[in-house]
Point group: C2
Chain length 440, copies 2
């Protein structure tokens, strides 16, 4: 990891990318209120100066939003090429029928004209409330405004990162710099999450072999890489990051990760068995994992970030199912919120998971994030003599790792999870007197 340097500028850190984020009132709050309240930026453009190789991973929800359908169609038709991405927050353009699909097409087409880029070269992302038509006049005005304000400074990237936020409390950005064949390559990303977060994305929107917010992530790189290899790299990175997080167990209609690779770094084209590809893959894995973790840490109402590490399962699929049962149990999540090292609830969740579990074999313990020293609360199904106070201290920090060993095999899985708090409930029950406040 020493070969990776964190650099500022996220999506405009790589050569040949410009971005912008503007306010165009997608939620129709009105602009005459005289105050900046609620005027968070809500439309972003991400543009490559030259034609780029593109790949995307999308929700496997059977009810998927118009922009997801459009991206799938366009990536197929363009043979994985794109020039730009237009993204709005505040409206998911999901469950919006034929008009929603027409609106997504118009968003893309209008952006193409505003940027003067070829037809079919713009991809679209949306996040926000489901079932409401996009205010297209506002969207068009936003695209014109965003096209005028494109740039490649940190501020431009920060504006775009803000524009894709919904209930996120802060923007999420990262970029790495590394060397490939003597050339300096950069890879950057922005993402958003907060609620409806348990993505299960695939390259084609079909259900992946493994299980499965709206989470959106947009990645850029100036690496030179072929379309099949970029798809392969993205699939691996997402499988280990965004597809391994859960805030509330709800998979969104809009989950999307898009990456553009414009080749301007001038590195020799990456090949599968090339050690340079390994470096690129590692960089992509790290950017995706760090961004995914930021989503959980900033999830709606989240007060604790817990990495659930299951080992000793009979298969990777069973390890995954066991970890997800624990990570999505309302009773386990509320005990984390209370700082209660309640291993009984963990045992209960393991027991009803579809994974094979033998009570008398289960170990449960805690460690600091990533640390090797585990404080075991349960060994072989039975409580250890570790005092309750020590266990409480282990689950008191804002971040800790939960270790579960089923001792039935060699398979492992990791899920990045959050607690369940009164703040989550309060946020998501919404305020029906103010429909604009109601989330996706």
């Amino acid at each position: 990891m020493k070969s990776f340097k964190v650099v500022p500028g996220s999506i405009v850190a790589p050569k040949g990318f410009r971005t912008s984020g503007v306010f165009c009132d997608i939620k129709r709050l009105g602009t005459g209120k005289g105050s900046a309240k609620g005027r968070k930026r809500d439309l972003a453009l991400i543009v490559s100066d030259v034609d780029a190789v593109a790949a995307g991973m999308f929700t496997t929800n059977q009810v998927c939003a118009a922009p997801v359908k459009l991206c799938l169609e366009r990536l197929h038709r363009s043979r994985s090429r794109a020039r730009a991405i237009v993204v709005n927050s505040g409206n998911a353009n999901a469950c919006t029928g034929p008009q929603g699909m027409a609106d997504a097409r118009e968003m893309a087409a209008f952006t193409e004209r505003a940027l003067n880029v070829p037809k079919g070269s713009v991809l679209v992302g949306s996040t926000g409330r489901i079932g409401v038509l996009l205010p297209m006049d506002n969207v068009r005005a936003g695209i014109v405004d965003a096209a005028v304000h494109l740039g490649a400074t940190r501020e431009h990237a920060a504006n775009a990162a803000e524009a894709i936020m919904t209930s996120d409390t802060k923007p999420k950005q990262l970029a790495l710099e590394f060397s490939l064949g003597g050339r300096t390559v950069r890879l950057g990303g922005i993402c958003k999450g907060a609620g409806m977060i348990q993505p299960g994305m695939s390259l084609d929107g079909r259900r992946p072999a493994a299980l499965h917010a709206t989470m959106l992530c947009f990645l850029t790189t100036d690496a030179a890489i072929s379309p099949p290899l970029l798809r392969k790299a993205l699939e691996e990175a997402v499988a280990q990051s965004f597809n391994r997080i859960t805030v509330d167990g709800d998979m969104s209609t809009n989950d999307t990760v898009l990456i553009l690779a414009n080749g301007l770094a001038g590195n020799p084209l990456l090949r599968v068995r090339d050690s340079r590809f390994t470096i690129f893959q590692s960089a992509l894995n790290r950017v995706c994992l760090e961004l995914a973790q930021m989503i959980v840490q900033d999830g709606e109402g989240v007060s604790r970030f817990v990495t659930v590490r299951v080992a000793g399962a009979r298969s990777t699929r069973e390890a995954d199912l066991a970890a997800r049962a624990v990570a999505n149990s309302a009773l386990v999540k509320t005990s984390w919120h209370g700082g209660d090292p309640n291993w009984g609830r963990i045992m209960d969740a393991l027991g009803y998971s579809p994974a094979r579990v033998v009570e008398e074999k289960v170990d449960i313990g805690y460690s600091a994030p990533g640390a090797r020293r585990v404080l075991w609360s349960v060994r072989r199904g039975q409580p250890t003599p570790v005092p309750f106070k020590e266990l409480c201290a282990a689950v008191a920090p804002k971040e800790f790792d939960l270790h579960i060993n089923l001792n039935l095999g060699r398979a492992t899985a990791v899920i990045y999870a959050a607690d369940l708090t009164e703040a989550y409930v309060d946020f998501n029950k919404g305020d029906i007197s103010d429909p604009a406040s109601l989330g996706g």
Copy 2:
């Protein structure tokens, strides 16, 4: 249904049953506090004057409590016969290893001696915190006390109903009277629920074909019925009631339904194709369904009781999976709490359910409990013109039905569900400064 009359006395309404509920401090709160606070009754006995036919349905959680294992073993060995049931709250006797199993056996054996009934004729139920050994001195003292106080009045039944409660705010009881072959037969039950509620019980503890709190339910009847028929009747009744409720989606280690049928009504022995059996089955179905609904209505922190009715699925299994995805979605449940008729979240949950769903075919609507007139918010995937205010009014009551038609087939399913509230989170985060307050 006119043939059923609601009668008082629940489990002692049928002939030849006595019960009691006492306080024996299973949670070891101490008795020297000088106040009655926390001194809820915590041990119950249910006794038949004569040998009874018995059947049970138990959690299919792979991690199951000692009393569940003991009941399975005893029902098998006794060929479905029993005389009494001993139940404690405050401690689940789950994940307690060999000592826990020995304690469950001792509870049964001690009860046999206290009641002077044959060896092997007592069944055991427990609910409460997982992973703590039972305070056996207290349990024995409680059994002695309970044996002395047996009786058949309404007060006795109410004491037993209180003794099995954990976080329940009120006791849950019901008894029906009906006629079988000229004889008056009675069927009564008590139950408890509150949290860790999404039972998936089977007769043998193996996972049922369909999917799946601690919920406990104890039923008594003076009907004369054979063991196989009683098992068949219980399986059907539980499949339509307790196995169709969810409070928080967590299946417990201790879920148990037990029924004793002592034959003292003197009806002709029931047979499968007998219309009298149909009457008995209807009575059992109704008692189980009403008790199950009471569990959801009194679930931890519950402010709304929602009956999720899915129709038009390709198969019963898919209807069930679709209904459970909606009923267990954190976002749908918080929207119910907020009185928000958020159909987007319902669509989202349907879309990620394992059931086949086609967005353009889905209807979503609301009605009063059991009413036929449905106010449709979505038809064929698209919002209807019904004003938002009217939809809000439809989800404002404490109880309503949610109607979903997938329009893909003829299969249906019903799930009795609850909202997710700040009170649920607050209750379950517990208070680590007072380990006795921490729930199961």
